[in-house]
Symmetry: C2
Subunit: 347 residues, 2 copies
């Protein structure tokens, strides 16, 4: 029987609770495929216990899988031992960079039964293609005269033609499968060097896709459209930091980041892609069994779609849609939502 | 009679239309003060005609004023002669940097009669204190192997203890006059050097203001709160780029950037402060007399408040409030709105 080798990093906080349900949904959705799951204990709690964030051996072992499912990593933000984003950078960004996850795919679709914070949301159905391995995330910064009145702290955003082109190509190919519109979001009137590179590459890739219309928005203006007229968006392509900001806003506008799934893709398949909810570890509600597992379950659907099992992914999506359709406003526990989705998958 | 020496840069697009009304409102609001206005022709149109953006002589002449009122600058974004943000950087940012406008003050207050795009906006009344002379706006970038497949384009954000501390102090002093809460917004888990500097300075200034409560949000999470619970904010202090993004979103959430005013402050008074609506030159509606001048008029109110004429500023604010109260949904022209506000100022 065909195998799908899955690495699971349940992580911290609500991570284990929501990945549990995502794994149940995957098992229920896959037929004629053996799901071989390996669990990795990684995250803030693991680091505080062992002093290790992620070893080279663990990276090499993770690399042996077809895909990675990640719950959430990160501990108590007030814990000084976790300051400086040590887990976020040391683990999450480490994996994205080590496995060359250059496409960070973040779809937003407002379900008709889900309440948006917007008064008139309209049709919300777009995808942000966020670059995942460059920009201000590269870690090129430093501080001079640190801690003195004369400190200078710099952060450098690095953008390459190679890195921008591959993600722009991905965005146009995705748009060809969708409503055929790409919006570049940047701040090219201020960040002129990076912005000119992004715009030039978008222009040249656009020339190869005459059926796709293209426009440009400054990142500040894009936030306005996300609340005033989100229906204008189909595919947004943008850099790592702007994509980070826009996708949290998109998640909120699309009914809450409890529903927002994401894929960190290595489209060439050199390394496993990694799928995770956009939300974090939410230490405030962890352990109470009340986290909504939907974002994790939809991340599992994305995982299946990008690992050669699109029908199984679609089945999960349909089950989630049915579950949302049936919502009556009553509070449900994490496992009740999981149960309902699994029941509809096995019905 | 006391004088207020005002430099007016009406600028491009709707800039002249809206500043005209702002000037009428100022004249009507000021009593016992002679408003001496000098007009400066600057902007995209002026550049395309003359080839000059702003000369050192013009800067020196502008510096002789008590304050600057700016409409909007920037031409047709599709005009290749204006590519690379040449006007935005060469004029707007040039003025902000030359006159050391390190506090970019951007209040958002949702008027009860104004429709927010949010379903349940709650009480929206906060101020963003955006740093204005540092961060990714400093213009420290470049491109290597430009135009080739091996291009590398860098942008460096520069942050100094001196620059951060003065704006953080301003934010805390402002919070003391308001609801006594400051939120630092940054992305310190990724931009660790700049983020640590900001957080350390906020912590140390907070220690001098025991009556002010403080919290921290990553910029991505801040966008979620701006749509899900904007009432949580009182004073936000943040860097130049995050402030740019958050204030457009804030403007939208607060009823539209047709109402959003801003001040580029030099609190020490070494150079004149500059006041401008957050919106741009809106070439699509320019010349039709339909732009809402309210943001420009509220910018004039801010100008008066920061130039030693707080009562006159308050009078304008009250007149704007009354005008908004009286709105019945009918479309009004730019000058009709100006007329109504001037009428209530002179009633
Ligand atoms: C935790 C953090 C480093 C991460 C990011 O900024 O990419 C998160 O916000 C996300 O969007 O996945
Ligand atoms: C025009 C542009 C350079 C400017 C900025 O980014 O500061 C504008 O967006 C603003 O917010 O005033």
């Amino acid at each position: 029987m065909e195998q799908l080798r899955l690495a699971v990093i349940a992580g911290d906080g609500i991570g284990p609770e929501v990945t549990l349900q995502a794994r149940r949904a995957m098992r229920a959705a896959l037929s004629d495929v053996e799901l071989v799951e390996t669990e990795y204990e990684l995250g803030a709690a693991h680091y505080l216990e062992t002093g290790e964030i992620v070893s080279d051996e663990t990276l090499a072992s993770l690399a042996q899988h077809d895909a990675i499912l990640l719950g959430a990593v990160g501990g108590d933000p007030a814990d000084p031992r976790l300051a400086g984003g040590i887990i976020e950078r040391g683990l999450l960004l480490r994996l994205r960079f080590a496995f060359d996850h250059h496409v960070n795919l973040r779809p937003t679709k407002l379900h008709p039964k889900v309440a948006s914070p917007l008064r008139e949301p309209g049709e919300i159905d777009f995808v942000v293609v966020r670059e995942g391995t460059e920009g201000p995330y590269v870690g090129n910064g430093g501080a001079l005269r640190k801690g003195t009145a004369h400190e200078v702290a710099n952060e450098t955003s690095v953008n390459t033609a190679f890195g921008v082109e591959r993600v722009v190509r991905f965005a146009f190919e995705l748009a060809e499968q969708r409503r055929k519109h790409v919006t570049l979001v940047h701040k090219k009137n201020v960040l002129v060097h990076a912005g000119e590179l992004w715009q030039r590459i978008v222009d040249s890739v656009a020339a190869e896709h005459p059926g796709v219309s293209v426009d440009y928005l400054h990142v500040d203006a894009a936030t306005i459209f996300l609340v005033d007229r989100p229906s204008r968006f189909d595919v947004i392509v943008t850099d790592n930091l702007f994509g980070d900001i826009l996708t949290d806003l998109a998640g909120a506008v699309g009914g809450g980041i409890g529903l927002a799934a994401s894929g960190n893709l290595n489209p060439a398949g050199d390394f496993p892609s990694m799928f995770e909810p956009v939300h974090g570890s939410a230490p405030d509600i962890a352990g109470r069994g009340i986290a909504d597992p939907t974002a994790a379950i939809l991340s599992a659907a994305l995982l299946l779609e990008h690992s050669g099992h699109p029908e199984a992914g679609k089945r999960i999506r349909d089950a989630v849609d049915a579950d949302i359709d049936a919502r009556d406003g009553a509070n449900r526990t994490t496992s009740q939502i999981g149960d309902a989705i699994v029941a509809s998958l096995t019905a």
